[in-house]
Amino acid sequence: MDMNSEIRGFAEKYEQLRGEIAQEMIGQADVVEHLLLAVIAGGNVLLEGVPGLGKTHLVRVLSKVMDLPFSRIQFTPDLMPADITGTNILVRTESGNEFRFQEGPLFSSIVLADEINRATPKTQAALLEAMQEHSVTVAGETRKLPEPYFVLATQNPVEQEGTYPLPEAQLDRFMFKILVPFPSLEELGGIMNLTVGESGKEARRVMGAEELLAMRETARRVPIAASVQEFALKLVLATHPEQADAPETARKYLRFGASPRAAQAILSTARVRALNQGRYNVAFEDIRYVAPACLRHRLALNFAAVTEGKDMESIISELMNFSD
């Protein structure tokens, strides 16, 4: 396939993915859109929503359409790092006993870390290397994880008792934090029809690992104008209240701002969005679309924001207007 065809086929492929996921996921179009953007861009995603919204099901469907191995880890307070990374076990062989490494659930292309905030920090930290380096080190030996590799974590905004909030260092490794809203009346009806009524359709495979990696490489080549890139970088800088020219909103309501990973996340996911919109360049609109998901988990509200009832979305919106 020549390059031009490959590039032109990106949008088609993307639409196919969305279409197939929609076979088993009713509504949540925005959530699916953001999830695909992050996955194609090669990032990890944190899904936050109340129980029963289909977060786990979404990840399963994703693995199905992308034909990627999927593993699910239900995080509990007693979960140990070795439980997820794997460990050496003693096996009896013909030549005697030997230690063999038993891979943990991390050794899968798509890892669903369910209720990640219920695990202890020690176990959460075990994910850090996997999420960033796509490798696991056990007993001094580093083992590469399969490519493509994603960690899709879920988090319950309620039932915070007995949970361990994710540290900023781990939060920063998630490309997106996607808020999963409660479905509307129509969507609920559709969900009922799909799940409780007659058996619904099933999603089919659209692509494999190689195609996904190819799409990622293609998306990385999307050119971006200097002014558009500057807008994204100014936006990240504007989140830092200690900066000399920081906007009033940042100074007043933020404790700290986003790291350079936020800028990387914005630009890489904006490139993917540009391609799936049928464009060969990144636009300001792409930056505005992906920025909230990239920033909401990387900024920290201060006491003034909490007492005044300011929410993160409005703050990010004001920062985008300032940077424009």
Partner: protein, 487 residues
């Protein structure tokens, strides 16, 4: 162009606002017109400048992108296929450029919106509101500017009248007198042009009047000297027994003098020489000229020379500049008519030779002026009122500074000395006034018309602040109203 107009409007409003603010601090005649002109000029210049400014490719691309091109044009300008590191990158850039070109080809230029005009329009709006506020708030300087303008018109008219009068007077003057009169007129004209208010103008007119008086006094003195010289010579000739010569000199008869000199003998010539030795000045010169005739000179010539010497001072006589005199008096009358109603502090502070004190000294001035006996000018207003009413201003001989003066220590020439005045005893009446350490000389007088307006204002203001009945205040106001009306 729209953007240029928006910026022009904002710039124009800023200039107009600056002009209006300045007009509140500094007197600017026709400030509103200047503000309007600044608005128009800045607006047109900015709009033209923006129109003529070359639009860069980047700016054009940004404007085009705003029509739904989604940063296609701007990105196409930034990227180059040659900068790609691999095939996919090169292919991507080429496709992007092609995509941008197609989008631009399909773009309707009429849909291209101007750049953001929100900010300049907002700035222009704010400027407009501020200008409107500045226009609505009364400006004290406007009144001053109008007064100044009216004053300028009046002064220009006066200047023209003075020039006209000078031309009229030149007919009967000697060359030297003409030069002096022209110099006076030029100086008056210059001073009037520089005048900032009525007080300045009055000072200039008064100065010109005094100079004219000095010039007239000087020429009168010359004429007097010449007459005295002729008389002295005639008397000296009579004493020397040279009666025929004395008569000829006394009569000013040049022919008779020539005849008398023609028949002069040596003895007469010697007597003439002795007469010449007794005299000085023009008389001596004339006598010497006459004596020369007896020594072989031409009698006619010497007689003519002698008479010319005696006539030199008399020729011009007292310099007559009645037209200029009358013009100056008219100017003073015109200025006084408006000066009494003008700002008291200005007129009070600008009296000739004054130290620039404010009008609060009016009370002291008029109070200290009562009582007289030293043969000075009648100070105070009461004594001169009768004269005032008997001397209408239309009378060309009426000279305000002579007939109406008032002693005002605050406004007199600088000078410090103790003043004691003592009136003659008339029976039981005697007044001894000790002026103390005065602020001016005793004869420091100022024209009444210059200060009456200021006094009237001071007194009526004092009456308002004093614990008086309404009727009493009305009396005070009426009194000064009549006083100033007569001026």
């Amino acid at each position: 162009m729209v953007r240029g107009a928006a910026f022009g409007l904002a710039a124009g409003m800023a200039c107009a606002l600056v002009m209006l603010v300045l007009s509140r601090l500094v007197m600017i005649p026709d400030a509103k017109s200047w503000a309007g002109a600044a608005l128009a000029a800045a607006g047109i210049l900015c709009a033209l400048g923006n129109m003529l400014r070359k639009v860069s490719d980047r700016d054009a691309a940004v404007q085009a992108d705003r029509c739904g091109l989604m940063e296609r044009a701007a990105t196409a300008l930034d990227v180059s296929p040659d900068e790609a590191t691999d095939e996919i990158g090169r292919a991507m850039r080429e496709m992007q450029i092609r995509d941008a070109c197609e989008a631009l080809e399909n773009l309707d230029p009429k849909k291209i919106r101007p750049g953001s005009v929100r900010r300049p329009l907002a700035a222009a709006g704010i400027g407009c509101v501020l200008c409107a506020v500045m226009l609505l708030i009364p400006n004290a300087m406007d009144r001053k500017a109008e007064d100044f303008k009216a004053l300028q018109v009046k002064l220009n008219r006066m200047t023209a009248e003075a020039e006209q009068a000078a031309k009229q007077d030149e007919a009967g003057l000697t060359e030297a007198e003409k030069q002096a009169l022209r110099k006076l007129t030029e100086d008056l004209k210059r001073d009037l042009v520089r005048s900032r208010d009525e007080a300045d103008a009055m000072v200039a007119i008064d100065r010109a009047e005094k100079r004219l008086e000095q010039m007239q006094s000087s020429t009168a003195g010359d004429a007097q000297k010449a007459m005295e010289a002729a008389q002295a010579l005639s008397e000296a000739l009579s004493r020397a027994g040279l009666d025929s010569l004395a008569q000829a000199v006394s009569a000013g008869d040049e022919q008779a003098l020539a005849q008398a000199l023609a028949g002069m003998d040596a003895e007469t010539a010697e007597a003439l020489g002795k007469v010449a030795e007794e005299l000085s000045g023009e008389a001596k010169e004339a006598a010497e000229a006459m004596a020369s005739a007896g020594e072989g000179g031409d009698a006619q010539q010497e007689a003519s020379e002698a008479m010319n010497t005696l006539r030199q001072g008399q020729a011009g006589g007292t310099m007559s500049a009645s037209a200029m005199q009358q013009a100056l008096q008219s100017m003073k009358a015109a200025m006084s008519g408006t000066g009494s109603g003008s700002d008291g502090s200005q007129s009070g502070g600008k009296s000739p030779g004054s130290s620039g004190k404010s009008g609060t000294s009016g009370q002291g001035g008029s109070g200290a002026g009562s009582g007289d006996g030293a043969g000075q000018q009648m100070p105070g207003g009461s004594g001169t009122e009768g004269e005032k009413s008997a001397k209408p201003r239309s009378d060309p001989k009426y000279r305000e500074s002579t007939y109406e003066t008032i002693y005002d220590p605050e406004k007199a020439d600088a000078g410090f000395r103790d003043v004691m005045t003592e009136q003659k005893r008339l029976g039981e009446d005697s007044i001894q006034i000790q002026a103390g350490e005065g602020k001016g000389t005793v004869d420091g007088s100022v024209p009444y018309g210059q200060v009456v307006g200021e006094y009237a204002r001071t007194e009526t203001q004092s009456a308002d602040s004093e614990n008086l009945t309404g009727q009493q205040r009305e009396w005070v106001r009426e009194y000064f109203r009549l006083l100033t009306e007569q001026n």
